[in-house]
């Protein structure tokens, strides 16, 4: 088991990792999620004693990494693809690694077969594609048959076939009872592989929970509604204290509403509905909201954002189309609900 305790790393005036504490549970795939620059790689390097923490500590099976005898037999790590001498063959790269931890040379052939590199074992790794380099890195991680595996962005730059292979490999490693700790900046990727999630942003822990809990907490639904009488329905919803937000296509979304309630409300007020469809926010959206405040470099929002003090143009368009009597109030309400949602996350 890996335990991270109050881990902090400061580079000059920037805190790359800020008082991070979490445990990586045994025998499952734990996704280590965060936007680029959140401090994932720095944390992983500190876990392996490659970088020195400013304060805090990491223990692996109760010991600091440098106290492990033959560490490759405890924990195998893939940090970056193609971090190999380009002039050395794949076989020889694994051979020196094996010898450093007294792993029999026969294991080199085994892992080369496991990752499908046996045919190119005697070729210099400088000529390898990114995917082959990634496989070689994974072979190196598996070399000592460790109980814990750590992968930093393993699917980055891989083709779909490679991504599928890495996904299945991580699942099968966990099924064998191994602990798999894998970083990613893509929620969609983690949703397919991880059982547990550790989410960080700007070096701070944002969430530490099981994948199921994350889905339950973050994929709250909303209902998409279209009607030829939007003013009437918006008034009715407002009276029932149900919040809404406009859609670019002219309809609007009812937040936290359930379709039956909205349907009944429409009938009571004699409003006809053209669409009433329950939607689920994607996990990617939930993740982005969770980390929205901690993204290092933000791009301009394409969709209307609650951040702007002046209402952005698409919102005006939505308001005009709904033809609300008090357009300012309507916009204000929209802003308020969005603000509330952001605070909740």
């Amino acid at each position: 088991m890996i335990e991270v305790h109050q881990l902090t790393k400061r580079y000059g005036s920037t805190l790359a990792v800020d008082g991070l504490s979490f445990q990586v549970p045994r025998g499952v795939v734990t996704g280590f999620l965060g936007p680029n620059g959140a401090g994932k790689s720095t944390t992983m390097r500190m876990m392996l004693d490659l970088d020195r923490p400013t304060s805090g500590s990491v223990t692996i099976d109760g010991r600091a990494y440098h106290q492990l005898h033959q560490p490759l037999k405890h924990i195998g790590a893939l940090l970056e693809a193609k971090a190999v001498h380009p002039g050395r063959t794949a076989y020889n790269h694994l051979l020196w690694l094996a010898r450093s931890n007294r792993i029999p040379a026969g294991r080199v052939d085994e892992v080369l077969g496991l990752v499908g590199l046996r045919e190119v074992a005697k070729r210099k790794s400088g000529g390898f594609s990114l995917g082959m380099g990634q496989r070689l890195g994974i072979a190196a991680a598996l070399l000592g048959d460790p109980k814990i595996l750590m992968f930093d962005e393993p699917v980055n730059g891989l083709d779909p076939e490679g991504i599928l292979w890495v996904r299945n490999l991580m699942k099968s490693l966990a099924q064998e009872g191994r602990t798999v700790f894998v970083s990613s900046h893509l929620m969609s990727e983690m949703a397919l592989t991880a059982d547990h999630l550790v989410v960080i942003g700007q070096g701070r822990l944002l969430a530490n929970l099981s994948m199921n809990d994350f889905i339950d907490q973050n994929s709250h639904g909303f209902v998409r509604v279209r009607t030829p009488q939007p003013e009437a329905l918006l008034d009715a919803l407002a009276m029932a204290r149900i919040s809404t937000r406009p859609l670019a296509e002219g309809g609007f979304e009812v937040i936290d509403g359930n379709p039956a309630q909205i349907g009944d409300l429409a009938r009571d007020h004699g409003i006809s509905l053209h669409e009433l469809s329950p939607q689920r926010a994607s996990l990617e959206e939930a993740f982005m909201q969770m980390t929205a405040d901690s993204v290092e470099y933000r791009t301009g929002d394409i969709h209307p954002s609650a951040d702007g003090t002046a209402p952005p143009p698409p919102e005006d368009a939505g308001v005009a189309r709904t033809g609300a009597a008090d357009s300012g109030g309507w916009g204000a309400q929209w802003n308020r609900t969005s603000g509330k949602r952001r605070k909740e996350s």
Partner: protein, 255 residues
Amino acid sequence: MGDFSAVLFSEWTKVRTVRSTWITLLVAFVVTVGLGAVISAVTNSQWNSMSDRDRLTFDATSTSFSGIYLGQLAVIVFAVLVVGNEYSSGMIRATLAAVPQRITLLLAKTVVVLVLVLPVALVTCFVTFFLGQALLGDHGTSIGSTHVLRAVVGAALYMTFIALLSLGVGFMLRKPVLSLGLLMPFFFLISPILSNVPKVKTVAHYFPDIAGTQMARVVGDNSVPYGPTAGLFICLAWVAACLVGGYALLKRRDA
């Protein structure tokens, strides 16, 4: 301390399995022997045009070692690449993850460089000596003469020390471009120039290459205030300083 013999075997595997090791060491041999031979032959043919003073201080042994001046650059490249290649490729992280005890890593690399360069240097220097003396003809000396064997072994030790010193610098500067950018001009230009500048040369005399040259001399150099034994210790001090500096930074810095 870690499992030293396993790490040593691992480092040996690393060095053995890249072509640059054998190319650089072969170049060191060829250049040292070849240039020494050329200079010995030229000296022999120009003997009659040499001044009396030059003839009086003529050192047949160190003349045959003139090629070390250029051959040492290949040794420097070899030693710098032993560590620099790991930093330029990012492989150092794999190394330190496999061997987190940094002192073990540095010592293993030091031993591998030592056991590889010392025999190569000994072979190079003996071949250089015998070929050079043959080409010097009547002006040559023999291995049995006073201090000659010591000078030949001294030249081999100097080449070995240069390798270890470069390894230490490689650990300190990490990027091979930086290490080579410092070491090559230093040994090829800066030190030879400074050791001829008045006043400055009293300091420059203690540079490793000047100290090393004394180890390979049979006839003493009047311009340098110490002999071959002191030269050996001055070289060793440089080696120790560079390796200790390399370790201090390796231990302290993030990989």
